[in-house]
Symmetry: C2
DNA sequence: GCTTGACTTGGAGTGCGCTCAAAGGTGCAC
DNA sequence: GTGCACCTTTGAGCGCACTCCAAGTCAAGC
């Protein structure tokens, strides 16, 4: 029961290096070990990793993710605080998407002007 | 004619440090100097900076921006290549927005589940 | 003339998020 | 039982994009 670090790396899209690093800084809680001392990742670990990578790709700093992970380990009484963290983060993501859309429009405009240059 | 580096910093949203850094690495071409050797930024410099910051905030690496800047200095015969660079970049930006929207939806879902926890 | 303050330079330092190196343990195939 | 692949650890190193420092220049105000 539980998959190796290489399999977990392939599944999560992170490197084995990064998985160990995440555990070291407390982002992932103590992964189970087999008799040889090798890590074996459970389904719950993979689900958590998937959520973590969503936070990462949406730009949450590692430090905030650590804070979230610490709250999660403290138990259900921290649920409201975790929710607030996510809400604040969501707002930032929304702003970033809005900003990206604006800049994308400017980029479109610029590219159009290059096309115009080539035609004339 | 031309504004000081501090004013250019305020206008562009970059720091004076960063403006000098950008010039050093060739992102901005030799800014005019006054009698004292101080930089004086022209309107065209500010327009270029504004465009550069759009490239940055949309995630273009500095190295690519340098390449774009170098092509631009070479003159109009590089227009097609610059356009292609922007088109490639635009595609990446579109993908990133799409990915962010997906992750935003997942975040919404997660926040909803926290709300559900609190109600029950 | 002296202070003040904003500017100049080259090079070193910083923070983030990994990424790798070195040295060693474990278990399976032959 | 030897080789090999794959795992372990601690701690150092890296790439990016700045960011700052030290030492110096210059113009204006008193």
């Amino acid at each position: 029961m539980g998959i190796t670090i290489q399999e977990a790396a392939r599944t999560s899209g992170l490197s084995a290096h990064t998985l160990r690093y995440y555990e070291r800084i407390g982002l992932i809680h103590e992964v189970e070990r087999d008799a040889a001392g090798h890590r074996t990742y459970a389904g719950s670990d993979l689900a958590w990793l998937e959520f973590l990578t969503k936070l990462r790709t949406t730009g949450m700093p590692i430090a905030d993710m650590c804070r979230y992970a610490a709250l999660r380990r403290q138990g259900p009484e921290t649920a409201a605080e975790r929710r607030r963290m996510l809400e604040v983060h969501r707002e930032r993501v929304r702003e970033r998407i809005a900003r990206l859309n604006e800049d994308l429009a400017a980029l479109d405009h610029k590219i159009d002007s290059y096309h115009a240059m080539e035609i004339t």
